[in-house]
Symmetry: C2
Subunit: 427 residues, 2 copies
């Protein structure tokens, strides 16, 4: 059982509700929008041990730095246990925030500790941003498909969605301008190895996006959980840096002009069970977000923040990211090769330069929710793509995770899936 | 620095705002309601090391079961490290939930694992309940004074407050009925050793409250962070149990008739830095709350949930609670005796049977926010009472925490505070 599998267990749609009771009438309007999905029952089956599942979004436990975390936990509790177990500030552990300042600088993002708020995973960052910015009915621009957890977080604050389709270079610019012109409260973008599509926004489009957003006065929320997990090609500058450059901030200055909120996480580079994400934003935005976080959970776990800081320090985080890249890069290669070998003609898939996911598109008319039943009969699983589209569509798409299974299991699972596809496509 | 000190750093009032920028115009309506308070600057001074502070709400670090938590952390990471660092289910660790089922049964609350959702501290429980139930403008009934974190959490969802004053037996029943008749979405109650007043709701009033709430069809949210920390008198049954009895649930049956949501926490009995709270409610409510928690932070830290369960098991939690009672009971006694010795005539204070706080009321016309400046000049601090009143008032009240300072420091601090009071009251 894992959150990223359950991530697809709710859906923004008029779906089957629980029987009406006194409570049913008491739930707030926003609660009614987050309803159960029929897909939930199907996805429970993907957790059977005999199933090779590409459905989750789990990091591989083999790459958790278990020994280092054990040693860090021991040191933190021995040296400063009472503080690590006490209440702490809402902003987050200062040592951890300083470490993140130095870590982000290596990726070109220059900020101060006052620009960082530690969150209970990056999911909480999405929740706080929605709470901070969205009045009921406000519009949010986003890619289609996009991260399901963002759709859920924004739906809980009664957002309306404006979507931009994607091609192999990310958001299509011809659709983007119309969306920006329609006055969204913000544009939510996953530029690197997007979840679910695996697509990366090209440098030219990043520059143009920053220009257009500035022109229309639309702030950007840049979600970057996978940016460090690149397996080929050059690192591309994040939108937050390009926005500062566009507005004439000189090299060496803070790379926060002020119209981009950047989100990061340690879930993919250390371990998700620590629940450590972070928001990077102008100090004014951080101050407000701190007030909202205070009422949301007071602060994230003091203990796991301290353990994360103690594990990551001394350059360990950078060294460890190189190890993860090697392991996941090999798995991505295994999946790309297996798809090439086993998928029938008519199936197209993305070539992710990093991240955790590959996205496959089947001929129009094939319903991947139906197909999942066939796949489960062959003990292989994926996530149907439709829930990732906030305004519908995508019935013929699927997301395949390559970070969790070994290369051998990837080969076997894709072989089985290829056979299922071939039968369905009649090839 | 600690969250419970910062807890009083925001206030629901039209207060001084940050300078208007592009972001100022972008914030949602609810964000504007949570604004900075002038009291924040004053409270920063309470953190000077030379100040004897009764301002916080901190557990004493001496009672943290540090050795047991160290051992538990070591075992969890050695025996099952990869799982403890991975994503986990939104509902919470099954082992921890089973342990809580058994633990609550000893306090008369009989529920199943499907009735429990683990939250990131009990503060998140308040946030989720507000998100689950409140449309903008909905009314919430509550005691005045009440827990500031609840005022903040409900304000963030644009609640209107209806308040019931308190005397030494808790909520005044003569005011309660009018509030219930005004149609609040729910009534928020802290029956045991209330924060901030230290007052306990009497058994007779508990029974009448349950009857009245049932009569008017108003659900109860029962917040019980301190219930196990009783230093004198008999344990009183929680509202959730009385509600089940009232509706004719037989002994031995589940004590959830369905109209009470009960909130608990391990912050006061194990350690707050783990961030473990829980919601106990009918399965239908839990299912909805799980969906909202999924979009709020996916799940609480897998690691700290596992450590908490491993620390608490085998009866340790019950044994440890007895130790905390002995330590805090002695500190409460020290504060009561010191108040009797040093406070001038005209000052009244509560006699808490448990919990962390004592509440003092000064003659009308004395402003405790002003008085705090005098107190800080004498290196002693408290929290002015006004922010705890959601509809204003309480300028002549203060909250005094007795759990954090040693008996000797309590005596010295109250002596200093008594002198400040005597000067101000001219006695």
């Amino acid at each position: 059982m894992s959150a990223p599998v359950l991530e697809v267990t709710t859906q923004v749609a008029a779906a089957v509700d629980a029987p009406e009771t006194a409570w049913g009438d008491r739930f707030a309007e926003r609660t009614r929008r987050v309803t159960s999905s029929a897909i939930r029952e199907l996805l429970k089956l993907t957790e059977r041990p005999d199933v090779i599942s590409f459905a989750g979004g789990l990091p591989a436990p083999e790459v958790f730095p278990l020994e280092q975390i054990q040693a860090a936990a021991r040191r933190v509790l021995e040296d400063d246990g009472a503080k690590a177990l006490q209440y702490s500030t809402t902003e987050g552990d200062p040592g951890l925030r300083e470490l993140l300042v130095r870590h982000m600088e290596r990726y070109g993002i220059r900020v101060g500790i006052e620009n960082i708020l530690i969150t209970t995973g990056a999911q909480q960052a999405l929740d706080l941003i929605a709470k901070l910015l969205l009045n009921p009915g406000d519009r949010v621009g986003m890619e289609a498909p996009t991260y399901l957890g963002a759709i859920q977080a924004f739906s809980a604050f009664e957002a309306q969605f404006l979507t931009v389709s994607m091609d192999d270079d990310g958001m299509r610019l011809d659709e983007l301008e119309a969306v920006l012109r329609s006055g969204p409260k913000f544009l939510y973008v996953l530029p690197n190895f997007q979840n679910p599509s695996g697509v990366t926004l090209s440098l030219a489009r990043r520059r143009r996006l920053v220009e257009l957003a500035a022109h229309y006065g639309v702030p950007l929320v840049e979600d970057d959980p996978y940016g460090q997990l690149r397996y080929e090609g050059e690192h591309l500058p994040p939108l937050v840096v390009l926005d500062a450059e566009y507005h004439g901030c000189a090299q060496g200055e803070r790379s926060l002009h002020g119209d981009v909120i950047y989100l990061g996480t340690l879930s993919k580079t250390l371990a998700p069970g620590l629940r450590i994400g972070y928001i990077v934003a102008p100090a004014e935005v951080i101050r407000r977000a701190v007030q909202l976080k205070q009422s949301a959970d007071l602060h994230s776990s003091t203990l796991t923040q301290r353990i994360a800081a103690e594990t990551a320090r001394g350059g360990f985080l950078d060294r460890h990211v190189r190890l993860i890249r090697a392991v996941y890069g090999a798995r991505r290669d295994a999946m790309l090769e297996a798809c090439g070998r086993h998928f029938p003609p008519g199936v197209h898939w993305t070539h992710p330069q990093g991240g955790l996911f590959l996205w496959a598109t089947l001929p129009a008319g094939v319903d991947t929710t139906e197909l999942l039943k066939d796949a489960l009969a062959q003990n292989v699983a994926f996530v149907p793509g439709a829930p990732f589209f906030p305004r519908g569509g995508g019935q013929n798409t699927m997301r395949l995770n390559f970070s969790h299974a070994t290369p051998a299991l990837i080969e076997e699972g894709i072989r089985r899936l290829g056979a299922v596809l071939a039968r369905r496509l009649g090839s």
